[in-house]
Symmetry: D2
Subunit: 466 residues, 4 copies
């Protein structure tokens, strides 16, 4: 059962996502988890006196000896992957083979295994997200005071700081982190509840023993370190998949936004930010400014894919008719792994981008010099009016200078506005030239943004090291 | 500005949703909230010494005197709804009019008002959802022991109880309730942060006073009883809209599933459940079984609409470029009210259905009698084998009787299986006829489902009365 | 039945969309269409001898006298809008009242009326789209030779022309137009097929007359000028709604892209394009460059909303269980009108933007001067190599000059590259300075883009005037 | 480069979809297509005199000798799959290697190859869909007269025929077929248009030859048998992907509906239809009725997945900023193959289900006997009124009998209504008993449904053999 590039191979098998995450969503891992659950079940049944020590020992001994070739061979005959795995396992276990899966329904095994995969997947993603958040916190702190031009409607507006802008992504991402943590904390298995969720088969099996079905479930789930839903049908509630995929899609949303901003800021007419690049990657040699933001574009591309998946999970949950229908099965083989692998790639790649984010101080300053002074005229106007000037008259004075300055900028010249205004006599009657220059200094028109950016970085560190 | 049915009128204006929710998302309410925020701002500025007692008193006095006709008239001239409202308000306030909105940017007012609407909307929905959950808890308890046939793949499987099935919806809906509560608890306004989120304009305004911009924000938000995001751009993070709409879409998912099951169970060949109907609504008189589940169909229809909306919120958040772009504005006028109004209708209507849910005891029993005994043969087989019978041999005996019984059922006759099996001699060698009848009694093959259903009802009550 | 701004009113009732489209989706229009169908039915039945001339004359006489107040009053009692309209109409028609709706099922009326609304809506949208395409064709032609910088990855790449870029939107929009035209041409009604689509009730009614049910349907549909699906269940196939909404969502996609590009190009660091604005709207007076692209943002916002709607139509069609379920009903009252009204607004507003699109020649040239010469160095290199230069050596020469030139640009100076290269001796050995200048002239490095742009404009005109 | 089940492997690599389709979307095939385009380009350039006969011969000779191991090795160094393939190919071609890709930009190769894959994929799907439609046509014809009960709101309504119901799916699927055919017919490549779509590089290259860039493109595209878009940017318009995926999602919608209906009808309380099953698959032996509709569930599951993908294509097209951004790239590696592979599986599996669809005549009759007569009382009432009976009085008579009959049915007895009504004296005064029985015979209350079903089957055959 090997595959090569002469058939379709998902890019998640080789291009995107980490080896750990690819392994987690492999057939091999799934079957290891199944066996782990069968062993836990047998051990609990041994405690109830239904199964012998020898039988559980036999199962435990071969627990990790997955033989996928044999399992898939059997599956090809009987068209049922879990039953095939039982037979394969049983062939390996002459003593315990007969009691594998005793009293269980397929979904008792599959759905607890799926919950374990969700949990392990979330654990892995939480690690990645912590690294990303810490990288962000570092950059927020180092750029907290770095003044740059802020844009609304893609138009220069007023100054802000780079650290403050980064803090905006970080605040959202921290909310994503809390969502993922909560989703992780809420992962529950189906428990052992049988064909329709009543535990009837276990009740019958345990009749005459000292163990209740609830105790059997508790023992098994304790061995798996996984809580169980109190109520289940044949499966765990599919709502859980939706919650998890939504949490992933939320982080994708934040990363999408960051990556889009980066792509805008990396456009040479702005050129303020750039994703990291190696020496080899330096754009075209003849076009030294040309640095395609391919990593940021990749983030947006995968985030957009991930955004489409929660809807399929919604549909699965909404159409789990009565005690279960199987119309979730085929697409869960796609949407669960692909969502986790997409998130995995997003977090890893975003972390690398944030850690290596290049900020072009010259470009930042150029934008600020070009547009910041216009924004600062508001402050000058307020001040002249406060000192007795006529709002209407001075507004017109400033407007005329602004128009003239903008005309020069359009012709590629530096912004002459500060000079013009500090030389204007009608303004000088109220505010002396050098004070005018100070008021037009856009860089200190940033309120308490730096302090709040730093505070958010602190909040991240606190949240990650509770 | 009145509208009649000769233009398109949203069904949410007159067909679906409650008067309270329609009012909450009206232009009138929006402007009331704006004025409330302007008054709170003026009061805080008065404390800073920027505004006089008379000015705030003047504003406070006319706070509720919305004059939509005048505002819309001004808006028609200047194409800006918030500026128009300021002018309208100012016309009413000769003393305070001039200081309305002092130092503020439009989004300082709008986005706090939007957050208040989200909060008020969630509060209203939480009330509705509590009523729905309590109705469910009542029915779970009263139906906890009511045995019915469970279906997997839409095929009769094993017995369960009606209360246990209801507990499945309730468990999901309780999770939805927690999501809504959390969303409600996390609602935050933008605070007062100005054009790009730095608070620069407030810092300049407060320079020389004893108040910091942070204190000004605290005072205003305290007056609104609304926390603020530490970091904002021109707007509050649009991620918040997505979180809220997702929580609503989650509840829609659970209600969709319940309504779909109800529609299946109301189909006459099953006929076990029916939504409540008045005497007047009793189907066609000539077709007494015909009772169209129009309320359940309505739930599914609106839930499906609601499910489409979070994606637009995802897009808005993902594309909030740099310090804000306005490509969220037009669709937020649609998706926010429509999502809340759809949820409002869903919760109210679902509550009425659950409270008045009709269960046809005869039909429930008929299904159970027809299919339950088949499921119970598993128990009989286990018992005969336990007492020394040959699994293979007796399995074949049961299979033959089952096939014969099913043939009779297909011809519209009652299920003869219990009779056939208890009369079979090869079985009687191991299990006496009357014990066979007992083992085939499907109704006690329900594990501990009733107890767990009751426990979940208790959990609901505990969660609602913390 | 009038509504004011103290309840939620859809922005499509007053902000977005045209009066014509709002009227088309009104309750009043719907009922007019119902009556038109009832009259057509009666006339056909008169031809079959089932109904008298007097009866049809009576109905025809009152056909347009909608009395919504009375209809809604009746609906409040009987909870069925169509039956209420019948009663209202019957009250107005003492002679013909009794034979309204003879042999018909509600959906025979409603679904033909809905098809008529889809058709009329598409006709209106096709007019709008033609106007938009013509506006585009005009601009393509006038800007076909206007060279500007093209961007890939948001990085300056090579030159193109403004007309060619516009032709890209136009080519897509022409495909959208063909889709809408096809959708329009394929609109079909349910015809007259009764409760489950068999025409059984009409067959019974017409038994003994000379008319077949097929002829009855033909007559009625001919009167409505609407073809009918050969096969229908209780309703017309809901697939039709999906086709129509998809066609609308497709145009939204093209307009979204155009509007997004416009927003980027209107950003002052580029500043090449701007949406039209009145004198009154000229941004902030102190920030003369600041022109928020609010119309383009509005387009993107509504397009994003529209993009979410086809999925609900997919769901409706996919879940039309057996001969119909009603889970489409409530959301069709939303998605059909809202999709048409959103498209209406998109087409109208996009047309105004295209017609009034401002192109800043200075800015276009500035970008070209800054970046175009870099792109053109490729041509210079090719030429020097062709004349015997060493590729590797001269490549390095150009690279060094490019880096130096870029450094000056970053400091806000004009691009010195053409000067540097034409003064370079190692290059001059192969290509004389003035030829170098010519080769570096980016403006003629545009292939046959202008001709193809013009040709596409011609194709548009041909398609619109077949 | 082989992969085994210890990493995630898409189910489309081994579970779902056909070998042909998996191969079509393989890396190997993609590179074969690239080479085919490079050869076609070289041949056209040879005609222009830019390339020698020997060079093209060299390339042609090694055209099919893909060496993926080597290519991926190079890609690992240079991180660009197409450039790596060029180098690998060039290593194989000592003579022609240097002129591979002459004047081309990556997307000139990639986007034409992608268009070829779309076209080949659609061709394959059209074959599958034809087989499915023919299977449907066969069943429509054989079941055209087979009367069964129709359901609205999942409630028994009036009779229809099985063939007519199938014709409903077929009519939709024929529309899907036309959509796919049109999509197939409209597939266009990018042509040869260079970095930003202007053909500037080709114009420069061909300067001095007798060939225009337009002719070069024509020659290459003729060799590929693929038309080209007149206008392109760096890529072909991404709108094309959306059109194709939408056409696939449309067919998925129709198949989803068919499969859902089948799942309902296979539920034992109805039990009228069943998907085919082998002897081995016969449900549980003890529960002979239990036949899980796993194939139909699989269809619904994959259709639901496919339905989520067009939205990602919409986003890609809508965000193709300016002359192209790369945020489409990563997700196109997923959505294009997965959509085609899902459709492939859907069509193949649906064809098997339709061809082997089991119809349980007994069950069909049982439902009809139980519910049909109720529907037919309408006809009886009409007839008695026509003969002078009082509508009100006789309506009540029928109502009473209906209620009593329904009570017996609820208790599991056969429907006694026909007997009761034909024995009723108040009815017999107008209609003799045996005529009453005839009128109550639901089976001929089916209008002209059979004829129209047959006609649709004919329409399918005509459409498939034009």
């Amino acid at each position: 059962m090997t595959f090569s590039h002469d058939v379709f191979l998902s890019p998640f098998s080789w291009r995107y996502g980490s080896p750990e995450m690819r392994q987690l969503w492999s057939e091999a891992r799934k079957r290891q988890l199944w066996r782990r659950i069968w062993v836990a079940l047998a051990e609990a049944q041994q405690a109830a006196g239904l199964v012998t020590v020898q039988q559980t020992a036999d199962l435990r001994a071969r627990q990790d000896d997955i033989n996928l070739e044999r399992s898939l061979q059997i599956e090809a005959e009987i068209h049922h992957d879990l039953m095939a795995e039982i037979r394969c396992y049983a062939e390996q276990c002459p003593i315990g083979g007969g009691i594998i899966h005793l009293g269980a329904t397929s979904a008792d095994i599959e759905d607890n295994a799926d919950a374990l995969r969700l949990r392990d997947g979330l654990n892995l993603l939480l690690d990645r997200l912590r690294a990303l958040l810490l990288a962000l916190a570092d950059r927020i702190e180092s750029e907290a005071d770095h003044v740059c031009m802020a844009f609304t409607h893609l138009q220069p507006a007023e100054p802000t700081t780079i650290g403050y802008r980064l803090a905006g992504y970080a605040q959202d991402l921290l909310a994503d982190y809390e969502n993922l943590r909560r989703a992780r904390g809420q992962i529950r298995g189906k428990g052992l509840k049988g064909a329709v969720g009543t535990r009837a088969s276990y009740a019958h099996l345990l009749a005459g023993t000292a163990m209740t079905p609830a105790e059997l479930e508790s023992r098994v789930m304790a061995a798996l370190d996984l809580p169980a839903f109190p109520i289940a049908t044949q499966t765990y509630p599919r709502r859980q998949d939706w919650e998890v995929l939504n949490a992933l899609a939320g982080s994708a949303m934040t990363i999408y936004r960051f990556a889009f901003d980066l792509r805008l800021l990396q456009s040479p007419p702005l050129g303020e930010w750039a994703e990291p690049f190696g020496a080899a990657q330096v754009g075209s040699s003849a076009m030294p400014f040309k640095r395609n933001p391919i990593h940021a574009e990749n983030l947006d591309s995968l985030a957009r894919f991930l955004a489409a998946l929660p809807r399929a999970a919604w549909d699965n949950a909404a159409h789990s008719l009565l005690e279960r229908t199987l119309d979730d099965s085929a697409n869960r083989r796609l949407i669960l792994p692909e969502a986790f692998l997409a998130a995995d790639e997003l977090f890893l790649r975003a972390q690398r981008i944030v850690a290596g984010l290049r900020i072009d101080e010259t470009a930042v300053r150029r934008t600020l010099d070009t547009y910041g002074v216009f924004a600062a005229t508001e402050r000058l106007l307020m001040e002249t009016v406060r000192r007795g000037g006529s709002r209407q008259e001075l507004h017109e004075v400033i407007r005329q200078h602004s128009l003239a300055a903008w005309e020069e900028i359009r012709q590629g010249k530096p912004n002459p506005l500060a000079g013009r205004l500090s030389a204007d006599e009608s303004l000088a009657r109220f505010v002396p030239a050098e004070e005018t220059r100070a008021l037009l200094h856009a860089e200190d028109y940033i309120g308490d943004a730096p302090a709040r950016a730093r505070s958010l970085a602190g909040q991240i560190r606190a949240a990650l090291n509770p």
